[in-house]
């Protein structure tokens, strides 16, 4: 199993450009997430999905859109990139462990470093 993979690993954009980050998981997980990591702020949830065809806003959704057309993929889009979106982006997936009454075991991707000039 490849686990959670992210494409690309690095990217530099100019202000106003658009791009899509791809997250893929091969573990048949229902839940997927996009976080951003900024110095001194930890990881913050951008958007998440509880199943194929569903998405929901997280803590910092402005400026981002997501889609989950296939269960194994979760796409994060930036329509018009801004310098404030310079960050490291992490995708994660999870499944609810049976018999735990609500524990989701999390699996993280390796991250994408995005710089917006």
């Amino acid at each position: 199993n490849a686990g959670v993979t992210q494409t690309p690993k690095f990217r530099v954009l100019k202000t106003g450009q658009s791009m899509t980050l791809l997250c893929a998981q091969d573990m048949n997980h229902e839940y997927m997430y996009w976080y951003r990591q900024d110095p001194g702020m930890g990881l913050r949830l951008i958007h998440y999905s509880v199943g194929e065809g569903t998405t929901a806003k997280g803590e910092v959704p402005d400026g981002y859109n997501v889609s989950r057309l296939k269960k194994q993929n979760f796409l994060l889009g930036l329509e018009s990139a801004a310098p404030s979106q310079t960050s490291v982006y992490f995708c994660a997936s999870s499944y609810m462990v049976p018999g735990t009454g609500g524990y989701n075991e999390q699996f993280f991707g390796p991250g994408t470093r995005l710089t917006v000039l």
Binding site: Y31, L43, G101
Partner: protein, 117 residues
Amino acid sequence: AQTVTQSQPEMSVQEAETVTLSCTYDTSENNYYLFWYKQPPSRQMILVIRQEAYKQQNATENRFSVNFQKAAKSFSLKISDSQLGDTAMYFCAFMKRHSGNTGKLIFGQGTTLQVKP
């Protein structure tokens, strides 16, 4: 809403000594999980230890142990016999526990730990 606070941006420890990282959180939930994640320079997020709030016994994983004080909403990580490979950023994180759990994590700001030879 839940919040997680790590008040120590940076810490250092001599190899083979013991260090404690602090974390406090705020929630009105009674059932939840708390975690410590390690992020080495490779950026990979690695689960170090998990604590279930309904369990009074503190979790331990080899050289890693926690001091969970539910009433005080405190969750510290103790690393014994520190090793150079423990050098990393450490994140405290919170997750609700219930049958409809979406698995969203709330992270603290992170503590950078440097283990010195």
